[in-house]
């Protein structure tokens, strides 16, 4: 499991495997929050306090991201509150609108120099590397259920993912409703050197030694291409299985675009 969870009298808390000082190469308080909400029975949630502690502005509003990626509903009158530690990478679910005490978490060893370099790289990419491939803001919003919630359309008993407008007889396909399988099988993979990576990843790729991508097959047919996360110690193989988590994808024009990344199972 990538995240650590602690339950106590104050609420339910989460941080990354790296502990409270770092959310990981492509993590932040929002990705931690989504991990926490996905691991907790759903309900309604108030995010007013949480959104005050995000490092960067998301490309679509936090409410939309949470509702696309989890089964929770954001409601300003809800009595369950989402919190984030203002200095550390810990998030919490509580029934109190104030929270001052956070528990201690373990931390997997990591290279602090890499952490610092990645932090600088994210800043450069978000604000300095604006030339990425054009994907309209409207498309990010329209496809959020599929990108973040992994929901597929159903057409003639087939699952369609990523989403399409019209089918092969030019009939409109209903919006995505059915969730893809939680794991998928690797059909093929590659690791791009930093020189070969898209410009969106130009600052991070050299630090990470490149970026890995997998083409996977879900149950019932759909296939997808995903960036591999947390693969620094493991090499994928064809027929390995992966699971999925919401992570930062890239930054552009001062905002972070979030999406789904694959993580090797069995490690």
């Amino acid at each position: 499991m990538t995240y650590q969870f602690i339950n106590n009298d104050h609420g339910r808390f989460a941080c990354s495997q790296y502990g409270p000082e770092w959310a990981g190469p492509d993590g932040d308080r929002l990705t931690l929050a989504i991990g926490l909400l996905q691991d907790t029975p759903s309900g309604q949630i108030n995010i007013d306090f949480f959104v005050q502690h995000l490092e960067f502005e998301p490309s679509i509003e936090v409410k939309s991201i949470i509702e696309a990626a989890t089964t929770w509903t954001v409601n300003e009158d809800a009595t369950t509150f989402l919190h984030a530690h203002q200095n550390k990478y810990i998030v919490a679910l509580t029934t109190s609108n104030t929270l001052s005490k956070y528990p201690a978490f373990q931390a997997k060893a990591y290279d602090a120099e890499v952490q610092e370099k990645l932090s600088v790289a994210w800043n450069k990419e978000v604000f300095g590397v604006s030339q990425g491939a054009y994907v309209s803001q409207a498309q990010h919003i329209v496809a959020s259920g599929s990108r973040l919630g992994m929901k597929a359309q159903v057409d003639e008993n087939r699952l369609i993912w990523p989403p399409r407008q019209l089918n092969s007889t030019a009939q409109r396909i209903a919006n995505a409703q059915e969730r893809l399988s939680e794991t998928a099988t690797i059909l093929t993979w590659t690791r791009l050197s930093s020189a070969g990576a898209p410009s969106e990843f130009s600052e991070r790729a050299p630090i990470l030694g490149g970026v890995s991508t997998v083409l996977v097959s879900f149950d019932k047919g759909p296939q997808g291409v995903f960036m591999l996360a947390d693969d620094d110690e493991n090499t994928p193989k064809i027929e390995d299985t992966v699971r999925f988590e919401i992570r930062r994808l890239y930054g552009q024009d001062g905002m972070i675009h979030y999406g789904t990344k694959a993580i090797l199972n069995n490690f």
Partner: protein, 389 residues
Amino acid sequence: MVDVAMVGAGQTKFGNHPFGLKGMWSEAIEKAIESVDNDFHPKSVDEAFIGSIAFGGSQLGNTAALLTEHSGMGGVSVRRVENACASSGFALRDAWMAIKSGQADVVVAGGIEKMNDLSASRKRYWLGVSGDTEWERLAGLTFPGTYALTARRYFHEFESTHDDLVHVSVKNHMHGFQNEVAHLRKEISFEKANSGFMVADPLTLYDCCPTSDGASAVILVADHLAHQYTDTPVWVKGSGAGSDYLALHDRPSITQLCATQAAAKRAYSAANISAGDVDLAEVHDCFTIAEVLATEDLGFAARGMGGKFARDGEGRRNEGSVTINASGGLKSKGHPLGATGTGQAVEIFKQLRNQVEPTRQIRDAEIGLTHNVGGSGATCAVHVFGRER
């Protein structure tokens, strides 16, 4: 129906070209006109089609009119054609159809791209925009990545290894070494080609074509005008095109290009030939694995046998069943994106008229083929050429 003859063809040297867009295009047109045996006046052109992806990585408009204005064709009906790296392959097809339909008698098809005066960051941005930007690119893929995914899957499905790709690289560098217009004119050993740094695992530097500047153009005329310009026209016997899903993940199989298969079937049918009739083929080897797939999709090798085809040297000049990429292909001759498709046609024009350097002439060639692919296979144009009508 009208038959279509190619009476002129010319191109710049591919590589780092000292000229800008206007200068390169003018040079290609100048050489195309020079290659016409009898008098040819640019004012006789009825239509022009110019392939380019992005004119130096920038979204300039109305560039086709600018280029014809600077090459003696001011006032001609012209437009830009964009289908990624297959842009001028489709420009050639549009030109062929314009004559076939009887709407034009004299047509220029060409292509151009300026790539080597870009900053590294702009080039990295640009080289990925012809794929699926919403899902593939944001998963970290550029074209080396998509073809690497294909290569690894190909090795998994068939009896083939990276060594087969090395054979493709060595062959194409051997062919391109003697081509005066090639970008990378150097022969490489198997050992060197097998030791390049990893670009996208399992593809190394020597599996990837260079980014080149270049322009190319061909002059097509209707059959009744062919002998006004030359006694030895090259006939464009067939044209076929196809398309496929843009993203790999939407394709039932990533180890074959359905767009190529469809384009080849249509071109062979139009030319009334089969794959076995082809003597030389300029195929779209943007990455070595792409040539392996092309030899299968065009029908030169059975499915899954493209690796063995390369391993056995079947595509070597004047040795195998069909010469593949006598020019050096994209791997050695170079790949100026929008100029590549008609650049392939220039090579076929010269080969079928015995006008290439003597050391690299294909003996007794009667039928030539060009195969121009856009992106990772979303678009493809195939043309069949012959000495005989």
